[in-house]
């Protein structure tokens, strides 16, 4: 029933149009499925939980220029000021801000000897309020007590205990172990008293992003980062009050970078977000252009065969037969395009992978895109084909 032979003959006679459509489809498949693969990798990365209630945390920095002030003492005063702002749940001075791209990262080992076997982890210093301020979930052990906290301005001193993320303890001690064990940093022992289910360090994009160790230690200087956890609905209010509250107590300093932890993360991830948006725009535009192209080519094919269609109709062909003819023709073109496209897609995927750090292309993306393109092909042929079916048989008898 399918007029395959005449269709193929007709296609072979006007090759250029078909070749162009095939080329477009193949390229579209290659671009869209590779883009989808990159997009999905970025979306997974951007949506990965950090362990923090980012929407209820505020961060900012303070730079003091009065060197007569005892920085460690000032830190305690500042935390008290912040906690007195209505809506603030907890506040803490930290040595660096998670998710910000800036912080400390070092090797920790299982033995005091520096035998070169290190497990890398991000680490930060803060007092006993840090776990509550970060809003992370302690799954084993205990929180810091004020007795754990070492307040010192000597570089080389180190506290006795730490709290680590599960990703770190799993990595260095093995799955599920680590509580009560000792790790060594610069030769000094640190006992793991608590394990947090999940907390991300300063570099979410890195491989060891989930490894973070917190030292109960304060070594404040003129420059200090703060974290403030608030009731999420009151966060904007609190944000507005921070600067004046801090400056009222001690005006010899500058308060900068007051923003939400979600914004900090957004800034760190801006490159990924940009790539995501650009690729989305690209594939949307590409789909529109390809649809327009196939629509245009079908239209042209039909207008070229007006007389032929009229003749067929005059000889008794049903309207549905005419529509079917064009749909089948289009599907043949589509199929060839997709087969060629799959080859191009795999090639492009491999090329991208060899040159850049993109993930390997999964077959599912090719299938999804191919399916989408088939739907697109049918959709863009239906309208012109229906129009063609309406061509009056009398057209066959006219000369032009």
């Amino acid at each position: 029933m399918l007029e395959l032979k005449p269709i193929i003959n007709a296609l072979l006679r006007s090759k250029v149009g078909a070749v162009l459509a095939i080329l477009q489809l193949a390229l579209t498949l290659a671009i869209v499925s590779n883009s989808l693969s990159i997009i999905s990798e970025r979306v997974t990365y951007l949506n990965k939980p950090t362990g923090y209630p980012e929407e209820s945390i505020i961060t900012f920095s303070v730079m003091s220029f009065d060197d007569k002030i005892d920085a460690n003492q000032q830190l305690i005063v500042d935390e008290r000021i912040l906690k007195s702002i209505p809506g603030v749940i907890e506040a803490v001075g930290v040595s660096s801000v998670p998710l910000s791209g800036g912080g400390s990262n070092s090797g920790f080992s299982l033995t005091p000897e520096d035998d070169g076997k290190h497990t890398n982890s991000g680490h930060l210093y803060a007092n006993e309020q840090v776990i509550r301020t970060l809003g992370v979930k302690l799954i084993e052990g205990r929180d810091f007590t004020s007795g754990d906290v070492l307040i010192s301005s000597e570089y080389a001193k180190q506290p006795d205990v730490v709290i680590a993320s599960k990703a770190f303890t799993d990595e260095i001690f093995g799955e599920g172990k680590g509580l009560g064990e000792t790790i060594y940093y610069g030769g000094g022992p640190l006992k793991v008293v608590g394990i947090v289910e999940r907390m991300t360090n300063a570099w979410p994009r890195f491989k060891n992003a989930d490894r973070l160790i917190i030292f109960p230690m304060v070594n404040a200087n003129g420059f200090q980062d703060f974290l403030v956890r608030t009731d999420p609905s009151l966060r904007d209010e609190v944000m507005k009050k921070i600067e004046s509250a801090m400056l009222q107590e001690n005006p010899s300093r500058v308060i900068t970078g007051i923003k939400g932890l979600d914004d900090v993360k957004g800034k760190y991830n801006s490159k990924d977000l940009l790539m995501l948006r650009m690729l989305l725009v690209l594939i949307t535009a590409l789909v529109v252009v390809t649809a327009l192209g196939i629509f245009g080519l079908t239209q042209f094919n039909i207008s070229k065969r007006t007389k032929q269609i009229g003749t067929r109709r005059a000889l008794g062909a049903r309207k549905s037969a005419i529509v079917r003819y064009f749909v089948v023709e289009n599907l043949i073109v589509c199929a060839i395009g997709l087969v060629l496209g799959t080859v191009a897609t795999v090639f492009l995927g491999q090329k991208l992978m060899s040159l850049y750090s993109v993930p390997p292309l999964e077959v599912s993306y090719i299938l999804i895109t191919a399916l989408g393109l088939i739907v697109l092909c049918i959709a863009s042929v239906i309208f012109p084909a229906k129009k063609a079916a309406n061509i009056s048989p009398s057209i066959a008898t006219r000369s032009v």
Binding site: A30, R253, V254, R277, A285, L292, L297, F300, S303, L352
Partner: protein, 437 residues
């Protein structure tokens, strides 16, 4: 004749508004997308200092022990130790050299009406201004003896001067960096290279510093870095003096070389320096490694243009190819439809060349229209990029060369797409159509 063809082309385009808009739209979208990624690429890869990019060299030394690796392509650390920067500045026999690092202060003028601000500050040696082509509006650089005595002198740029004093001519005025009073000895013109090539450690596209103070202040006033500090060795560090004498990496060192001869001379000196340090127990690798990279090589080595951007460029051009195939098809359709007209024209004496030429004028016009609309799309896209992050504010823009490139690429693309259809249509034999008429 060209004007006549242009007129014919315009009429032809007007006669088929739907097809014309479809084609113009396709080319415009293609150009829009391509120009967005090209513009960002162009701005990211633009030479930040064209007159000097082959003369200014970043110096790197392989200070790490055997077996230690660094996350650079050749394992050599990006930065130098403070010790090496200081030593090289003192020992290298070369006029144009600069040791530096980034720091920052709360800056104020002891005037309650001007609120203090946090400003990054660069500690540099005097040669910085001439080497990186900063120009002075007022005053000039501090003297060597001022640097040697760690005199509290500073150079600021005009925007800082405006913010603090409301005017630019502020030579002789005092500013405070934290608690220390500095005398302004020079005011520079605003200077923002598109890439912060002299210090890529904290964002290649970060703002340049606007306050400069002598490098000697680091030791004199214990000024710590605001940039990255990379340690590779376990060291006992209890105070700032320990840090200055440590193997931690946190300074930058650049030289300006006029020719090959100067470069060779410097290489010998660097090798000698490492040798002299080896006697003191440092640089204990078997081979003495260092490297000199000029600005262009330095940006390449540091991967300033991101991978994402290169992927985007590639995909955009593939996208443009789809648009090209698309337009080719539509043009073919349109031109063949007009074959009867062409037949008549040919019969009336138009040559094949004339018909061919006329059709190419038409596609070029189409390309021009698409290119102009494409610029609008591109601007829209760039606006979207600027909205994504503040980082892209100066990068996601089109300069004049890109504005001109857009219609050019569009026209070339369209002509490429139009060659085949125009060729087909000019081959039209007059006889067929005359017969039917």
């Amino acid at each position: 004749m060209f004007a006549h063809y242009l007129d014919l082309a315009w009429r032809s385009l007007k006669a088929t508004p739907l097809a014309t808009s479809l084609m113009a739209l396709a080319i415009a979208i293609g150009i829009g997308v391509t120009m967005v990624s090209l513009s960002v690429y162009h701005m990211m890869s633009a030479d930040p200092i064209p007159s000097k990019s082959s003369k200014l060299y970043a110096v790197q030394l392989q200070v790490m022990d055997e077996g230690q690796t660094y996350h650079s392509a050749d394992d050599i650390p990006f930065q130098l130790t403070f010790l090496d920067a200081k030593n090289l500045y003192q020992t290298l026999n070369i006029d144009k050299k600069v040791a530096m690092f980034k720091s920052g202060f709360a800056v104020h003028v002891n005037n309650p009406e001007v609120s203090p601000m946090l400003q990054t500050t660069r500690l540099i040696t005097r040669e910085f201004f001439a080497m990186f082509e900063l120009s002075f509006l007022y005053g000039g650089v501090w003297s060597q003896s001022q640097a040697d005595n760690a005199a509290p002198v500073a150079v600021i740029d005009e925007t800082i001067a405006q913010k603090l004093f409301g005017r630019s001519d502020v030579v002789g005025e005092s500013i405070y960096l934290a608690q220390r009073r500095y005398q302004v000895v020079g005011v520079t013109k605003e200077w923002q290279p598109n890439v912060k090539m002299y210090d890529l450690n904290n964002g290649a596209f970060a703002d340049a510093e606007r306050i400069f103070i002598p490098f000697s202040h680091a030791a004199a006033y214990e000024i710590d870095t605001w940039g990255n500090t990379n340690g590779w060795k376990r060291e006992e560090i209890n105070n700032f003096t320990d840090k200055m004498n440590s193997e931690m990496l946190w300074t930058q060192f650049w030289v300006e070389l006029e020719n090959e001869k100067e470069q060779q001379a410097l290489e010998t000196q660097l090798d000698n320096y490492i040798q002299s340090q080896q006697d003191l127990g440092r640089f204990n690798r078997k081979t003495r490694e260092f490297s000199l990279r000029n600005v262009t090589e330095w940006l390449e080595y540091n991967n300033v243009v991101s991978e994402d951007n290169k992927v985007m460029i590639g995909l955009s051009f593939m996208f443009l190819a789809v648009c090209l195939a698309n337009i080719l098809g539509l043009l073919l359709a349109k031109f063949l439809k007009r074959a009867p007209d062409v037949g008549v024209r040919r019969a009336l004496g138009a040559s094949k060349t004339q018909v061919f030429y006329q059709h190419l004028v038409e596609v070029a016009l189409l390309g021009f229209m698409g290119g102009v609309i494409g610029i609008v799309f591109a601007q829209l896209g760039l606006w979207g990029i600027r909205k994504t992050s503040h980082v892209y504010e100066s990068l996601a823009t089109m300069d004049v060369s890109m504005l001109l490139a857009a219609p050019s690429i569009a026209i070339v693309t369209c002509i490429l797409a139009g060659l085949y259809p125009a060729w087909i249509v000019c081959k039209t034999s007059p006889a067929i159509y005359l017969k039917v008429q």
